[in-house]
């Protein structure tokens, strides 16, 4: 497969805004055109090859190597192809994307998949704050697609999300699913406080006990039928969601009554 390989020569001193690194743009660009792409180093316009070594051309598969902690907006608004990052990456990874796949072998910054519409993001390390969240002043966050984080995540995961799936393998911090309007968040390692605050609709599944808001009402324990189907879908993504009755059951909580909302939080309670 024809691939474009970008290697960061040295970490930028200030933030490097490089929304040009998307499969959509590189697909019909020659090596010279890719090298000449404009990136913003702080306030200054620079060429992409001031920072990166570029190998390959005309492909929608991009491999990036190096410590990209200060490189922001990679894969912004992408619709196809793939981006693979070997190293840590900065904010707004895959924001507003509507297709394609991003894989990060390292940690990611804030706003991973902010307001994304479709596609898949897989972070093998930790993610920052506001995963799949809405930008400030925006009413709707993530509208579809899948975000998988193997490690921990920061505050406000899935803030105002409308549809889609977020899976956090490690522990999440405060305000998971803040004001969420739909979609699914799966917390494999639990979360800190105020999970599901102000949620209107949507589902949060937690495999660990949660400290819930006082505005959630207890609605009994059961094994929801849809989780059997959902668990099979998640199995394809490599996530094991327990659902069998002999293993345990889910405690269901409904809220947030402050809104008032009809969101649900399902907390797994294993047998014994």
């Amino acid at each position: 497969m024809n691939k474009i390989k970008l290697t960061l020569r040295e970490a930028p001193k200030v933030v490097l805004e490089s929304e040009v690194i998307t499969p959509d743009r590189f697909l019909d660009q020659s090596n010279e055109e890719i090298r000449a792409s404009v990136v913003y180093h702080g306030k200054r316009q620079k060429r992409l090859d001031d920072f990166f070594d570029v190998d390959g051309e005309r492909s929608d598969h991009i491999d990036i190597h190096g410590d990209l902690t200060r490189v922001r907006h990679i894969g912004r608004g992408m619709t196809r192809g793939s981006v693979t990052i070997h190293g840590d990456v900065g904010m707004h990874l895959g924001a507003m994307m509507s297709g394609g796949a991003i894989e990060v072998h390292g940690n990611a910054g804030d706003w991973v998949g902010g307001e994304m519409k479709n596609g898949k993001i897989h972070i093998h390390g930790d993610a920052g704050q506001q995963v799949g969240a809405a930008y400030r002043g925006s009413v709707i966050g993530m509208r579809g697609g899948t975000i998988l984080v193997d490690g921990d995540a920061g505050i406000e995961v899935g803030m105002r999300m409308r549809r889609g799936l977020i899976v956090i393998g490690g522990a999440a911090r405060d305000f998971v699913g803040l004001q969420m309007k739909g979609g699914t968040i799966i917390l494999c390692g639990g979360a800190e406080i105020r999970t599901g605050a102000w949620m209107q609709r949507g589902t949060i599944v937690s495999l660990k006990q949660l400290a819930l808001m006082p505005t959630f009402a207890e609605c009994g324990a059961f094994n929801p039928t849809f989780l059997n189907v959902y668990a099979r879908h998640l199995d394809q993504l490599g996530i094991k969601l327990p659902y069998a009755e002999e293993q345990g059951r889910y405690l269901r909580y409904s809220g947030d009554r402050g809104v008032p909302g009809k969101g649900e939080i399902l907390i797994w309670e294993p047998v014994g």
Binding site: Q129, Q130, G258, V259, P260
Partner: protein, 316 residues
């Protein structure tokens, strides 16, 4: 939703201080605006007003309050969300209420009083906006105030401290459309607190030069931010020697605004107040220093290059 302190003075019959200690931090607030003043609509002054204090501990302000609600530390967001549910008659169990450290009678009384008020005001302090949850705690109280407008007139106003902090917000707002956390690196203002707000930028070390006017982040910000201030060129404009100016590469002494330099300060309700200098100072004003720096910078070549340079696919 907010109003001026003049409106509070003339009309507010229900005043809530949340997470603040006005008796010690804003000592003239009670007498000048909120409690003691008589007006056409509140002819008996203090007797026509009700004051509720919500805080985690008993402070000197308790004496001035009609009702004191002692909330458990770190439970403000939960309490406000419960109140949001209660004003809509949503059921909340006693066990859930107990988490906030208050009883059902106290909260039901508070809700009844809020709904019965003619003009209610929330004043919220750092006890709310600077504890765990931060901006969401403030957002919760603002939302509660907005929702109470289904029943009566209600407004919320932050209790601002320090010199002209409101002024900085107001000026940034009418100049750019955003109050703080703004980046101009693309030649137009972009707003994103958490990404461009001062403390986050400094903690991550995303700057290669800092220019600080009339503030002392070296005294208040977290350690990594202070270390970053010391590690890159920092320029400080301040009348005094501060923690920040000791870290800075350059410290330009300026005339203190309002004492030796004229200007406009904004009151906490965003009313501009002209300041007339009382004393003369040998130092230039902040405005003059910034203007002279700007004139020098303008002689350099334009850095913006080709326009437009909007962040692509920002919408849609």
């Amino acid at each position: 939703m907010t109003c001026t302190l003049g409106e509070v003075k003339n009309r507010a019959d229900f005043i809530v201080y949340w997470g603040g200690n006005p008796a010690e931090c804003h000592p003239r607030h009670f007498t000048k605006y909120t409690l003691m003043q008589k007006s056409r609509f509140l002819p008996r002054g203090r007797k026509d007003r009700t004051m509720v204090l919500v805080d985690i501990r008993e402070t000197k302000s308790v004496k001035a309050a009609d009702v004191f609600l002692q909330v458990r530390p770190g439970k403000d967001f939960e309490l406000i969300t419960i109140l949001r549910a209660m004003i809509k008659d949503q059921p909340i169990s006693d066990a859930q209420l107990a988490e906030t450290g208050l009883t059902r009678e106290q909260l039901q009384d508070f809700v009844t009083r809020m709904k019965a008020a003619k003009f209610g005001v929330f004043f919220f302090g750092m006890g709310l906006s600077m504890t765990r949850g931060k901006h969401m705690n403030s957002a919760a109280l603002l939302t509660l105030a907005a929702e109470l407008n289904a029943f009566t007139k209600f407004v919320a106003m932050p209790m601002r401290g320090h010199g002209n902090v409101t002024g900085a917000d107001v000026i940034m707002r009418w100049q750019t459309g955003y109050p703080f956390g703004i980046s101009f690196n693309r030649g137009y203002p972009r707003y994103n607190p958490g990404e461009f707000s001062t403390v986050d930028v400094l903690v991550r070390g995303d700057t290669d030069c800092n220019f600080i006017i009339g503030a002392d982040p070296g005294a208040t910000m977290p350690k990594p931010a202070i270390e970053h201030l010391a590690s890159v060129p920092t320029i400080v404009l301040d009348p005094h020697v501060t923690h920040t100016s000791k870290l800075a590469r350059v410290h330009i002494t300026t005339a203190p605004a309002g004492i030796s330099a004229p200007g406009t300060a904004y009151r906490m309700d965003e009313i501009p107040m002209p300041l007339r200098p009382a004393l003369e100072s040998p130092y230039p004003s902040d405005e003059e220093v910034v203007r002279r720096i700007k004139e020098t910078i303008l002689k350099k070549p334009d850095w913006m290059g080709e326009r437009p340079q909007m962040l692509t696919s920002q919408v849609g």
